[in-house]
């Protein structure tokens, strides 16, 4: 009791000031991370609500709950919300914002006011999209393919597009801030090859944010101009080419997948090493494989367009390049496995999520190779196979890593421990619910069920019921952490500075940290992940 009241009197970033204004005008990266945490959680549950309605409709082969127009709007809003307002900002804007300065021993990001601006930009973009949803929604699919989006759709395309355009700039500002911070603000002794691999991952993802986002921004501007002024750039009647839109769109939106997955991989490095008490296996390979993914990711967008009038030679090149992305991805998976070897592994909640990530990401990645294969892709194109594939990457991969990271750094962020038993239970429920939801979709797609239809032949019903049942389990799995994490803010055990006995600068400062992060600028004298064996022992 004494200890609690003493530690509560210590000044840290959460209690240094109170009131709405102290949060809305903060430039502290840790507080901005929490602002993002709250906003993206709201969007996550909003996107989840759309998914609930989709899965309810698909319980039966007939369209008895929703009309096709409503269904089209629901899957569009689900995709838009989840991709642009949850997945892309998730790990960078929450965990990255909180951790990048702390992990490199800095007091803040290089541009704290830009960082706050990025949250406001995100929020304004989100409001535009919400208004579009409330006003009647949009039904083009999250991909906004022309000419449907430019000439035929009668829904709120422009409003949604403006929302996404604006939000893109929050992503650009976050990426820019991370790149500059990592280059210029590392603590003394923290050389590039002593950086935690989480930082390398954020750096690689930031490169994509900075290089890719402007391209989708201009593509969206052109769609809006086309709708408003009929300027004809994507309109075949005026000599324009709708496929050009697909090129511009996927030039960003394929690398955007790596904006999501690279930071997730970064989280996994931290979890695997800490809970197996092992030095990371093959540090430089993991570091450079992230950059390789970022680079190759820009060269594979054409694999979304195998059936969009692209020349067969272009398709073959894009197919080969897509296979190449599997190499650096596999390098990471093998290195994590080798890190586990002879480790003293413990099964705390974050580690359960890390194991879930490795398995599900591997399934998602390998089925990606099916899709990169030209002949197979023709068969499964636009079926549930592809829906299952990208949900294995984005939900099984990104959200697993995100939740693992949230649990791992929760003591640091909140100063409280979450209840371990509930944590493990939720991780298990999510894993089971996820597989039950999405594995049947691989089968459905392979059997030929197309995506984006609200009705289907009766023989697909058993698998669809399994999927919907899994989705309800998954939904419960997501609600459990929501409840106990909020509960822990008040009733959780008070956290030590380093409850996991983990390595890394963020654990060398109290939980929660003071506003300036460290009392003195730390000096780094050893490599990252100095668990076992030590650097000196392996040479």
């Amino acid at each position: 009791m004494m200890a609690t009241s003493l530690s509560e009197r210590r000044e840290h970033y959460l209690n240094i000031s109170y009131g709405v204004k102290s949060w809305l005008l903060t430039t502290d990266h840790k507080r901005i991370a929490l602002l993002y945490l709250i906003s993206i959680t709201l969007f996550f549950f909003l996107g989840g609500a759309f998914a609930v309605l989709i899965r309810l409709e698909l319980l039966t082969p007939t369209g008895d709950l929703l009309q096709s127009e409503t269904y089209n709007k629901l899957f569009t809003m689900h995709g838009v919300t989840m991709v642009f307002f949850f997945l892309i900002p998730s790990i960078p804007a929450v965990l990255g914002n909180f951790l990048v300065p702390m992990m490199i021993g800095a007091r803040d990001l290089a541009f704290p006011r830009l960082n706050l601006a990025s949250w406001y930009i995100y929020t304004i973009g989100g409001l535009f999209t919400l208004v579009a949803a409330v006003a009647g929604g949009v039904d083009t699919g999250w991909t906004f393919y022309t000419p449907y989006s430019t000439s035929y759709a009668n829904t709120h395309v422009i409003l949604t597009a403006v929302g996404i355009f604006i939000t893109g700039f929050s992503s650009i500002l976050t990426g820019l801030n991370f790149i500059v911070t990592i280059h210029t603000m590392r603590a003394p002794g923290l050389t590039w090859f002593r950086l935690p691999l989480f930082i390398w991952a954020q750096y690689a993802a930031s490169l994509i944010m900075v290089l890719g986002t402007p391209v989708v921004a201009i593509a969206i501007v052109l769609v809006a101009l086309e709708r408003l002024l009929r300027i004809g750039i994507f309109d075949p009647a005026l000599g324009g080419d709708p496929v050009l839109f697909q090129h511009l769109f996927w030039f960003y939106s394929h690398p955007a997948v790596y904006i999501m997955i690279l930071p997730a991989m970064g989280v996994i490095n931290e979890l695997i090493t800490c809970f197996s008490r092992k030095r990371i296996f093959g540090y430089p390979f993991i570091a450079f494989s992230g950059l390789a993914i970022a680079l190759l990711g820009f060269l594979v967008w054409g694999h979304h367009m195998f059936l969009s009038s692209q020349s067969v030679y272009a398709s073959m090149v894009f197919s080969i390049l897509s296979f190449l992305v599997a190499i650096p991805s596999a390098v990471k998976v093998f290195n994590w496995t080798a890190t586990l070897y002879k480790g003293s592994i413990s099964y705390e909640t974050p580690m359960l999520y890390a194991f879930g990530f490795i398995g599900l990401f591997t399934v998602g990645g390998l089925t990606g190779l099916f899709l990169a294969t030209l002949a197979v892709d023709v068969h499964v194109h636009d079926t549930y196979f592809i829906v299952a594939h990208f949900h294995y990457i984005m939900v099984g991969g990104v959200i697993m890593a995100y939740l693992g990271g949230i649990h791992f750094w929760w003591p640091k962020m909140s100063g409280r421990m979450y209840p371990e038993g509930w944590g493990r239970l939720a991780a298990l429920v999510i894993f089971i619910g996820f597989n039950l939801t999405f594995f049947p979709q691989f089968l459905l797609g392979y059997l030929g069920m197309p995506r984006r239809y609200h009705i289907y032949p009766p023989e697909f019903q058993v698998l669809n019921v399994m999927s919907s049942a899994g989705a309800s389990i998954l939904g419960v799995g997501y609600l459990i952490p929501m409840v106990y994490l909020l509960w822990s803010l008040r009733y959780g055990a008070v956290a030590d500075p380093n409850p996991w006995e983990a390595k890394g600068l963020e654990w060398e400062t109290p939980s929660p940290p003071p506003t300036a992060n460290f009392e003195k600028t730390p000096v780094v004298t050893e490599e990252a992940y100095a668990y076992w064996p030590k650097e000196a022992d392996v040479g």
């Binding site: 391209v215 201009i218 750039i233």
Partner: protein, 223 residues
């Protein structure tokens, strides 16, 4: 043990130093790198339009050449000269800030604004001519000859690209105005003029975009 930069002592703590940085060198390095990264995003932003332009010019070379002949090369050339001069005055403003000549900063920034505004006026005159000649894409578009639809496409690119460029000019002039006010209040010193320098980088970037736009849009029929 490799040690990075030297830690500052309290006496070295400069008024212009933001709390997150250790010293002015680090702050300068960060702001300059940040500006360059921002310019990279700008290149990618314009890059989408340049890609589209290239695709269609390759697809419809005659229509694009035909449509290009309707642009006022003389006005475009004048504007190119005006912009290059404005880059010179911008560079002189940065130099003045570097050596701490406040009056020079204000004078050269104002001159840059003036030249930038002159560019926009000429651009406005050109737009007005296009409007009168029914060369603005849309219902009123009129273009004699066999290339009408693809000429309209050319003008779509013309207005999208020069419009986006002009928007950047307007934003740039706004920033210059803010710098003039700040400078007159003595905000900049040789130790701390990153804002002037970064605005200079932005201004030169917008200038360079025009250096590409001018030949691509105005001069293609002359090759």
């Amino acid at each position: 043990m490799p040690i990075g930069r030297r830690r500052p002592t309290l006496a070295e703590h400069h008024a212009a130093l933001a709390h997150q940085f250790d010293d002015l060198d680090q702050q300068r390095e960060a702001s300059s790198l940040g500006m360059w990264v921002f310019l990279v995003t700008e290149i990618m932003f314009f890059g989408g339009l340049f890609t589209g332009y290239t695709v269609y010019r390759h697809a419809y070379p005659e229509a694009f050449a035909d449509a290009s002949r309707r642009l006022a090369v003389a006005l475009g050339a004048v504007n190119t000269a005006v912009l290059i001069c404005s880059s010179l005055t911008m560079a002189l403003a940065v130099r003045s800030a570097q050596v701490g000549k406040r009056r020079g900063v204000i004078a050269f920034l104002s001159l840059t604004m003036l030249l930038g505004s002159a560019f926009l006026v000429v651009k406005g005159v050109e737009y007005a001519h296009k409007f009168h000649d029914h060369l603005v894409p849309g219902a009123t578009f009129a273009f004699e000859g066999p290339h009408r639809p693809h000429a309209e496409l050319f003008f779509s690119f013309y207005f999208a690209m020069t419009g986006l460029h002009a928007l950047h000019m307007v934003i740039g002039i706004g920033i210059l105005a803010a710098l003039v006010v700040l400078s007159s209040r003595g905000r900049f010193s040789p130790d701390d003029y990153a804002a002037v320098e970064n605005t200079g980088l932005y201004w030169h970037f917008v200038d360079i975009v025009w250096i590409f736009l001018f030949p691509l849009l105005y001069l293609i029929s002359r090759t």
